[in-house]
């Protein structure tokens, strides 16, 4: 069962960059690509560096996949699937996002 939760305003996001929101005790990184009008939601916890820092990584694309590079040791995580490009055994939780009336909403599995 999942429900949409409003987490912040669109204006709280940083274009082509990341911010972090707290949702039901979870730290979630939101990345906003205004040209595609897309927001990605992925866990803020970097399991390799063991710190809550992914929202502060640089985003971009590698071979067409949207990714964030960890600011600690630079591993890439696919923003759609959560899979780590350097170690496919590692997958981060990702969450559906939508924008409703300027409000960013995330669906978190309960």
């Amino acid at each position: 069962m999942s429900t949409w939760q409003s987490v912040c305003q669109l204006g709280d996001l940083q274009p082509d960059s990341g911010v972090c929101v707290l949702v039901s005790g979870l730290q979630i990184a939101l990345f906003y690509m205004p040209q595609e009008s897309t927001v990605y939601a992925i866990s803020n916890y970097d399991p390799i560096g063991q710190a809550n820092v992914l929202s502060r990584g640089i985003i971009g694309d590698i071979k067409g996949q949207p990714v964030v590079a960890s600011p600690l040791y630079k591993q890439h995580f696919n923003l759609i699937t959560g899979v780590c490009l350097e170690d496919e055994t590692i997958t981060l939780p990702v969450h559906p996002v939508r924008i409703e009336h300027g409000c960013v909403q995330i669906s978190v599995k309960e």
């Binding site: 940083q14 082509d16 960059s17 911010v19 972090c20 929101v21 063991q50 502060r56 990584g57």
Partner: protein, 845 residues
């Protein structure tokens, strides 16, 4: 179990050491106990580059022995102990200190001694020779009181010695018996051109002079009297009139020696006693003494092969040489004097640039027999390959020495070389061996150098080595991909030029015009850095923020737990007690871990992202500004206390350090840049380990460049000496701008310079002589950066909209519960995983 035999090597000079290195790399070493005698107080060092001792290199820098070499290979070395006597009957060597060793095989590598003509007065005070580091020290001591120095001998070594005298600040003369300089290698016109060039440097050349007496001088210590009646007053007389083989130990035990000296050897380098070999300058092969290092190395390898039972022979060596004498390129190949019957000669002479080139070609114009190059030796590699490998010459051989005024290249491509072609003559590396290393996966120039040792001797073949590498990689289908990343098919240098020439101000604009995709963590910070170097915008402008690495985005250094450290600027390491107290108060209030950095600053650790703005507000109010410790940018200018306080200080190093740090602060560059300024040659600021190092001397500032500490430490190179402050700053402006413009991403100045074709000399020609005509532009670019400096933290805390980003959550005031500290030695540190679970935590509010 077989009992080991004993191998004794007499002499640990360049050739003796080369022999040992080759021996220990051969399985035959297992058969021998190896013992070597070294007369000098230190093991083998680079005599070829001896004059580097006066431009800042130390005896350690010149050493050819890797630390621990003798211990690691179980070699016994008797240092400072001269082998005095060989008894062939009992097969023993006895040393001056009384060691007596029984040998099975003996290798003589006793080298040579400088020939001192038996002129009356040759043994007077300050009549010196140029051979060992002790000789150099004697020269240094003599130069302290003297003003004038004369070198007797205008050959290779003599000119090298003259360079040393000149570096010591003496008025320098060269006296040569022959009618021209470098009589062995050069013809008359080549010698004359060399003379012009050397005299332009302030060295006085006297040719056709026969010294008849050295006696008391009137103004100087000595006076030289010549056969033609002329006289020359001088403080130092330096004999460099050739070498003589040191064969006395061989004579004493009745080994065969040549009529004019030299231990006679056969093609296996065996002397008249088959158990005794001789190699290097003490050996006489086919009536020849080889006074160059490469033939000595070839003999050393021959003996190792012979010991191992492999077929090997030394059958003479090519005497071609290329070197830089006092900054003048000189090269001589093969039959430079056109002694071959029927030989044809082509000559090119340019009086304006003082270049002289001569080709000696066979009668049928098909083979190159020899060549002479003065003033420009860039064609040496190609010509040598033509000559050594008998490659057929192009239809018009003179094209090889005429300046190419079109893009058409007349050089010999690496593909034209046979696999047997010797690329590196110092280490005898063939093209075949290089290709083999490339096949085995060695695809960088550095890797190739350490794998094959090619280009690590005199370095003369570096350009050729690089072209072989590139050509082989291209042939194997490896595209030599220099693209920055998948988004830009350009190098960093290309992007720099595009951004500057087309006045591109944003990443989006550059990507739209020259890139594809969205970018990544490689190209974004690179472009962000270039934009900052060129236009020096505030880096957290909305369009620039996404380009920055996390450290730049938050203007602080991220640590392992996601907290940040803060380093305010303390220019030159000078700080008042009040400022220090202010810093301490901030550290205490926010409970930060504090540590002194290597760059004479204070680092405050453990700040959460939301604490950064209030901390900086307090620091700025106290008078601090950003230290840019988070950026690839100028970090610190370290200094010693200098002449203001120090008893030994020669100049005000702190004052200069502060001025330089304030001048270049905020400069974004391909990698971090560190400076240091020392107030005297005691060098307490360790300036020679920095990208830019400055040392005060009595004559002005000495500038060193391209050093660094870190994973691969590198000693900086002496770049210019005796500078006044204005010139010093001008050179640094140009140097830094040129680095920012042409280095690769994340390439420090050392690697940048080492990869530059022409290396340090080229860099000097660009920065000092303005070879590229760029200097004005480089200075202007630096001035723009200086004029647009801003403290990024001041700008940030004054802008509400920028502060929004300094929160852990955009939707909550909570902080990151994963950040926990424990106490250690009275300060905080991040808790480890175990501690999080089991220990009582000290949460920092």
């Amino acid at each position: 179990m077989s009992i080991k035999k004993t191998l004794v090597v007499i002499g640990n000079g360049m050739v003796g050491q080369h022999f040992l290195v080759n021996l220990v790399n051969n399985p035959i070493k297992e058969d021998y106990n190896i013992i070597t005698f070294c007369e000098e107080p230190r093991a083998a060092y680079d005599r070829v580059h001896l004059s580097a001792f006066f431009s800042g290199k130390t005896a350690e820098d010149l050493s050819l022995v890797e630390p621990g070499f003798f211990e690691q290979h179980g070699i016994t070395i008797y240092m400072g102990d001269k082998a005095a006597k060989i008894c062939r009957d009992s097969k023993t060597v006895t040393s001056e200190k009384g060691h007596s060793i029984r040998y099975d095989k003996l290798v003589l590598a006793t080298g040579s001694f400088p020939f001192v003509p038996p002129v009356p007065g040759h043994d007077r005070a300050q009549c010196l020779v140029y051979r060992t580091i002790e000789d150099l020290e004697a020269m240094q001591a003599a130069a302290k009181t003297g003003k004038v120095g004369v070198v007797v001998g205008g050959g290779l070594l003599g000119l090298e010695a003259a360079n040393a005298l000149k570096d010591l600040g003496l008025q320098t003369h060269v006296v040569e018996f022959a009618p021209r300089l470098m009589a062995v290698q050069l013809d008359d016109a080549g010698g004359a051109m060399l003379r012009t060039k050397i005299e332009a440097l302030g060295v006085v050349v006297h040719t056709g002079k026969n010294t008849s007496l050295i006696t008391d001088g009137e103004q100087c210590v000595n006076k030289m009297c010549f056969a033609d009646g002329e006289e020359l007053e001088t403080d130092i007389v330096l004999f460099s009139a050739g070498i003589r083989p040191r064969d006395d130990i061989a004579r004493d035990c009745a080994l065969e020696v040549g009529p004019r000296g030299g231990i006679v050897i056969n093609n296996q380098c065996q002397t008249s006693d088959p158990n005794i070999y001789a190699i290097g300058e003490c050996a006489l092969w086919n009536g020849m003494i080889y006074g160059l290092v490469a033939p000595g190395y070839a003999m050393a390898r021959t003996v190792v092969a012979d010991l191992a039972g492999n077929e090997a022979s030394f059958t003479g060596a090519d005497m071609s040489t290329k070197l830089k004498l006092m900054g003048v390129d000189v090269a001589s190949i093969g039959d430079a004097h056109a002694k071959t019957p029927g030989a044809l000669v082509y000559t090119y002479q340019n009086g304006d640039t003082a270049v002289y080139k001569r080709l000696v070609v066979s009668q049928d114009k098909k083979q190159l027999l020899g060549a002479v190059l003065v003033g420009d030796a860039s064609g040496y590699g190609t010509l040598l390959q033509y000559c050594l490998n008998g490659i057929q010459l192009p239809e018009n051989p003179d094209a090889l020495i005429l300046p190419s005024r079109s893009d058409e290249s007349v050089g010999l491509g690496p593909d034209a070389l046979p696999v047997s072609a010797q690329i590196c003559s110092c280490y005898d590396v063939t093209k075949g061996e290089i290709c083999k290393a490339i096949d085995a996966g060695c695809t960088s120039l550095d890797g190739l150098k350490s794998e094959t040792k090619a280009a690590t001797g005199c370095g003369g073949c570096a350009a050729l080595l690089k072209s072989v590498l590139n050509s082989e990689l291209a042939k194997q289908g490896y595209e030599v991909n220099t693209d920055l990343c998948e988004h830009f098919a350009y190098t960093r240098q290309d992007l720099y030029t595009l951004i500057r020439v087309e006045q591109i101000k944003t990443f989006a604009d550059l990507l739209a015009r020259y890139g594809k995709g969205k970018g990544c963590e490689i190209c974004k910070p690179t472009v962000g850095s270039i934009l900052a170097s060129c236009w020096n915008d505030y880096i957290l402008k909305t369009e620039h923020t996404p380009l920055q690495d996390t450290n730049d985005t938050y203007l602080a250094n991220m640590q392992k737990d996601g907290t940040y450290s803060i380093v305010p600027r303390i220019a030159g390491g000078e700080i008042s007690p009040d400022m220090l107290i202010a810093l301490g108060q901030v550290g205490k209030k926010y409970k930060l871990y504090t540590k002194i950095t290597g760059g004479q600053r204070v680092d405050l650790f453990g700040a959460r992202v939301d604490q950064l703005p209030p901390i900086w507000k307090e620091l700025i109010d106290a008078g601090f500004e950003s230290g840019h410790a988070y950026g690839k940018s100028l970090r610190t200018v370290k200094s010693c206390v200098g002449s203001t306080w120090c008893r030994y200080g020669v100049d005000d190093s702190v004052g200069l350090a502060i001025e330089l740090e304030n001048r270049y602060k905020g400069l974004r560059s391909p990698h971090k840049i560190k400076f240091a300024v020392s107030g005297c040659t005691r060098e307490c600021a360790e300036a020679q380990g920095k990208d830019v190092g400055i040392i005060a001397t009595e004559n002005g500032w000495n500038l060193y460049v391209c050093g660094n500490g870190g994973m691969k430490p590198r000693h900086a190179d002496l770049f210019a000496t005796g500078l006044d402050k204005a010139t010093l700053i001008q050179y640094i402006d140009r140097f830094l701008s040129f680095y920012v413009r042409s280095a690769d991403r994340l390439q420090r100045t050392s690697v940048w310079m080492e990869n530059m074709e022409g290396g340090l000399d080229y860099l000097k020609s660009v920065v000092i002589e303005d070879k590229l005509g760029l200097c004005e532009q480089l200075e202007q670019q630096m001035q723009t950066v200086i004029d647009t400096y801003q403290c990024e933290w001041k700008t940030t805390i004054e802008d509400e909209s920028k502060l929004k980003r300094f929160r852990h959550f955009v939707n909550s005031e909570q902080t990151d519960d994963n950040v926990v500290f424990v106490e250690e030695r009275g300060q905080i540190r991040p808790a480890d995983e175990q501690e999080r679970k089991h220990f009582k935590l000290v949460e920092v509010a």
